[in-house]
């Protein structure tokens, strides 16, 4: 307590007069410590920011301590909750791909090196190239695989699978139009959905792909125009229900063992650009999974048109998708968690 001016007696008397009523009121609400106990010293207020003590004599300690003090936790800024039952379901066609009225998957486009579609009366020139529909995806023909970017300025990163032509003119290219083909493609769907197609089939000497399996989903927008999702029902082979998040090419971070990642960019040597990313998480009871990723402005610019006024175009986006569910929970908890960029 600071000293009152004047003589101690007067000061104490003044204090008693002034503080008397207040003290009585305080006593009624604030019991004093009983005999044998005392008030603790006031709590220290948080220390003001300053250099660590060891900076005076230990450079290593100083540098590390400053780093320790300045590092901040990854903090959530926004969460999008996804109700699995609201998501469109992946529809798979297998047995109904032949015969009258059969399901027709989106066709591939087959051209030669001059850009001419089959058939080629004089045979294909230079190469035969298969490009899937849609804007982003990947295609495998035989043993070879490549990412697929439909936009002209991105085609150097992958534009369909090509086989070179060596003496195939005689049969008009029929002998080259053979082998297993599968593609995954993402195109603009109805409204703000994305059309996601996976087709597997064979070329049998004609430019028509004989599809064996076609899976299609209209992935629903989840967040920001760059995260869409659909659900995959459980399969007879024992796979449980899953949620698939569809994104532009993302920088992949951590993924749980039960999470399945396709596409995306792994920040290490020999990695190559991919046209998309899918993150698949199990949502059946007793399961848990998550996957984290980063997205940069250049990756978003390649993607489908983003909503007007999309504010974070040039910022780095850090996010994690998560799904977990105990046996007691009626619904899985699926989240997209955004962190401070």
């Amino acid at each position: 307590m600071s000293r009152l001016p004047g003589s101690p007696t007067i000061a104490l008397a003044a204090l008693a007069l002034l503080a008397g009523p207040l003290a009585r009121e305080a006593r009624a609400e604030e019991p004093a410590p009983p005999a044998g106990w005392e008030e603790a010293p006031p709590l220290a207020s948080p220390a003001p920011s300053r250099l660590p003590a060891c900076c005076g004599f230990d450079r290593d300690c100083c540098q590390r301590q400053v780093t320790l003090n300045q590092t901040r936790p990854d903090r959530v800024v926004r969460v999008v909750e996804v109700r699995v039952e609201d998501l469109p379901e992946l529809v798979v066609h297998e047995a109904d791909l032949t015969g009258p009225g059969h399901a027709v998957p989106p066709p591939v486009r087959i051209v030669d090196g001059l850009g001419r579609p089959a058939p080629w009366p004089d045979g294909p020139s230079a190469e035969v190239r298969i490009t899937p529909p849609g804007r982003f995806g990947e295609v495998r023909w035989g043993d070879f695989w490549t990412p697929f970017f439909a936009d002209a300025d991105m085609r150097s990163l992958g534009y369909g699978m090509a086989h070179f032509v060596y003496g195939h003119a005689e049969d008009r290219g029929r002998s080259i139009l053979r082998g297993a083909v599968e593609f995954f493609t993402i195109g603009q769907g109805q409204g703000d959905t994305l059309a996601v197609d996976f087709v597997r089939g064979d070329l049998e000497g004609t430019p028509e792909l004989q599809a064996r399996r076609w899976a299609h989903a209209d992935a629903a927008p989840i967040s920001g125009g760059f995260i869409h999702a659909y659900r995959e029902p459980g399969s007879a082979s024992g796979d449980g229900e899953r949620v698939v998040f569809v994104l532009p090419e993302a920088i992949l971070g951590f993924e749980a063992r039960d999470a399945k990642v396709n596409g995306g960019f792994i920040p290490s040597r020999f990695s190559r650009t991919e046209a998309y990313t899918t993150l698949t998480l199990p949502v059946d009871p007793g399961r848990s999974g998550l996957a984290s990723f980063r997205l940069f402005g250049f990756q978003l610019r390649r993607w489908f048109p983003l909503p007007d006024g999309f504010p974070e175009y040039d910022r780095r986006i850090e996010a994690t998708v998560s799904a977990s569910r105990t046996l007691a929970e009626a619904e899985p908890r699926v989240r997209v968690v955004f962190f401070e960029g």
């Binding site: 044998g36 590390r64 007793g286 998560s322």
Partner: protein, 656 residues
């Protein structure tokens, strides 16, 4: 002779657990004696000669006054702070281990209104359904039941009864009128009858049990453990059932070549707290939906890697990282199978000493002793520690939490600064009050400083991303075997083993603890306390480490066997090196070294608290004392002991 009439399952539940349970027999006698004394029952000789009709004796733990308090917190695991309503007041009750007291703080005004001195160092406090309060006293192996001394909770609480339980009672839960008590050092769960604290059942548990939480049906108790990486599930309806170990899945280790090791999972440690979410389940009934077990995921190094630069071999990942496992209460397993934190920046401020937790549908809050903060996490994420929303700075050493029944406020007790904090959930505002302390007591500021240093994980001199308490919770050990520059080394216990046990280190190469910890800091990536200006901090840290007490062992279940073991200890020459259970201060080659060892002779370790310091030998090759004593590899004991001799010797060692 006291005849025990037991309700429910028999006292000695299963043959499997017979030996560990038998400690209850002397405890039961003590318990009855204690309660009878506390209740001031007249003995037959003192009984009045009034011939009035006999009336049924009131339960001796019953309240004597009209009910004065009600629970005001969300029901979860107990902690050192609980919230009650007394009249029109909401009051926090705080179990203060340093001052051995139960404080009452009006949480509207955040002013202390009363204090009750306790006859021991309290662990957790729990307001009971009947308006009484249970407090676990860690250093006296006792649970006491208290009743408010007045309506306002300003007068000291009065003791109604007490019971002895296994060593170091920590947490308390109430199940259908009975009390469940976990004992940390005693590694047991004791079930006490609520009406008179008669021990009904006790179960041996894995090492260092801490928090206990019940499922919504009250049918299963879940207990977390400070070491061992498990949560025990105990079926309360089936008295004969052994605890089920739920292994926390803490990710994969990094192998010697830098890849993921699918055969050796990371370990888990620091399981002090539990919280749960209760709500409508699949069947529409109210049930426990998920249980949260905050802990740390630990990579102690590739098992076959040999020597490493520091403790733990991984370079690019965090050897110790935060993790909150989500446990499926129905399936009794962790659904969390990933540890994202291992790949975070090494300097990231993670919660490495989680000590308290509360949760509801909206959030999980965890008290972090090392960060002086409570963190708010998204409870819906598979590992909630991935999704931190907010961080509340608090006075030093937050270790206990209570969530107001309305869900609007969280109360935290900071054990180092001895303060209660109220966190307003909407605004994020924090109000704190320092608790009263005993007057006229000398306090050693050096020990206080040392304690703060012991638990911080943010001091570059000690480590990057680890605290002393990371490997030495409560000054004990994490039960892990780490890769080190000398090869595989198990973490030694510090509590009760530092004073008078020189030299230090497994090779006994350091004459003083001070010399030894210099190397330890370097192995942890710390810069050390090298400058003269830092010696005061190092002195404080060493003084605190030396002051950490070792809890007393539980009474031997078979005193005769322990006595025979004591004789065997001498006749087999054990006390030649382990003098009086301590050390001769010399290094001996007992053939325990492995190929490539720098020396064959190892410093004789103290055996204080050896029962609770598994695994054994410098490289942790023996998981239990029984395994060590029954080993046929001629290490240390030239002639293998007979079965009875080994059991007697083990019984004696358990008393040290």
């Amino acid at each position: 002779m006291i005849h025990l009439e037991l309700r429910g399952p028999p006292l000695i539940a299963t043959s499997r657990s017979f030996r560990s349970l038998s400690f209850l027999a002397p405890l039961a006698a003590l318990s009855i004696a204690g309660c009878a004394s506390d209740a001031r029952r007249p003995s037959p000789e003192e009984a009045p000669a009034d011939p009035s009709p006999p009336i049924a004796a009131a339960p001796i733990c019953a309240p004597r006054s009209p009910r004065r308090l009600e629970r005001a917190a969300v029901v979860g695991a107990s902690s050192a702070v609980d919230l009650v309503r007394a009249g029109d007041r909401r009051v926090a009750l705080i179990a203060d281990g340093d001052e051995r007291a139960l404080h009452a703080v009006d949480v509207e005004t955040m002013r202390e209104i009363g204090v009750t001195p306790l006859p021991g160092r309290p662990g957790h406090v729990l307001a009971l359904e009947n308006g009484l309060v249970a407090v676990a006293l860690r250093d006296t192996a006792t649970v006491v039941i208290l009743e408010p001394g007045d309506e306002e909770l300003q007068k000291p609480f009065e003791e109604r009864c007490s019971a002895r339980v296994a060593s170091e009672p920590w947490a308390v839960a109430e199940a259908g009128g009975d009390l469940l008590v976990t004992s940390g050092f005693g590694a047991a769960l004791t079930v006490l009858r609520g009406s008179d604290l008669l021990p009904l059942r006790a179960l041996p548990l894995p090492r260092e049990p801490r928090a206990v939480i019940l499922d919504a049906a009250g049918a299963t108790a879940f207990v977390t453990h400070a070491v061992g990486g498990v949560v025990s599930a105990i079926d309360l309806k089936d008295g004969g059932m052994a605890p089920e170990a739920i292994h926390l899945q803490a990710g994969r280790r990094i192998n010697a070549h830098g890849g993921a090791d699918d055969e050796h999972p990371r370990e888990a440690s620091q399981g002090y707290a539990l919280a749960s979410i209760v709500g409508p389940g699949v069947d529409g009934e109210r049930e426990t939906l998920r249980i949260f077990a905050p802990h740390t995921s630990v990579d102690p190094g590739a098992p076959d890697h040999g020597a490493s630069v520091g403790y733990g071999g991984a370079v690019d990942i965090r050897p110790v990282t935060e993790l909150v496992s989500v446990i499926d209460p129905r399936r009794r397993r962790s659904i969390t199978n990933h540890v994202a934190g291992a790949f975070r920046d090494r300097f990231a401020p993670e919660c490495l000493l989680p000590r308290g937790a509360v949760a509801d549908e909206g959030a999980l809050f965890v008290a972090c002793l090392d960060l002086d903060a409570v963190i708010e996490l998204d409870p819906s994420v598979g590992d909630p520690s991935v999704a931190e929303r907010r961080r509340f700075a608090l006075p030093a050493g937050p270790s206990a939490l209570s969530l107001d029944a309305s869900g609007k406020q969280i109360f935290a007790f900071s054990e180092i600064d001895r303060a209660l904090s109220r966190i307003d959930r909407d605004s994020g505002d924090v109000a704190s009050v320092a608790l009263w302390r005993r007057s006229g007591q000398e306090r050693d500021a050096r020990l206080d400083r040392g304690r703060r240093l012991f638990v911080t994980s943010r001091d570059a001199r000690i480590s990057v991303g680890r605290a002393c308490a990371s490997c030495h919770p409560e000054g004990r050990d994490d039960g892990l075997v780490w890769s080190s520059p000398d090869g595989a080394r198990q973490t030694p216990m510090l509590a009760g083993r530092l004073s008078g046990t020189a030299p230090y280190g497994w090779f006994g190469e350091n004459a003083t603890v001070r010399d030894h910890v210099r190397k330890t800091f370097a192995r942890l990536g710390g810069t050390g306390f090298n400058a003269p200006a830092q010696q005061a901090d190092l002195d404080a840290l060493l003084a605190y480490a030396a002051s950490i007490p070792l809890p007393e062992a539980s009474p031997p279940p078979d005193p005769a066997a322990a006595e025979r073991g004591r004789v065997a200890f001498a006749s087999n020459g054990c006390d030649g090196c382990h003098r009086d259970g301590s050390t001769d201060g010399l290094a001996h080659d007992v053939g325990s070294g492995v190929k490539g060892e720098r020396h064959g002779a190892f410093d004789t370790p103290s055996l204080a608290g050896v029962r609770a310091s598994a695994p054994y030998f410098h490289d942790g090759r023996y998981r239990t004392l029984g395994e060590l004593l029954g080993a046929r590899d001629a290490k240390m004991i030239p002639d293998p002991l007979s079965g009875p001799d080994a059991r007697d010797l083990e019984a004696y060692l358990e008393t040290l």
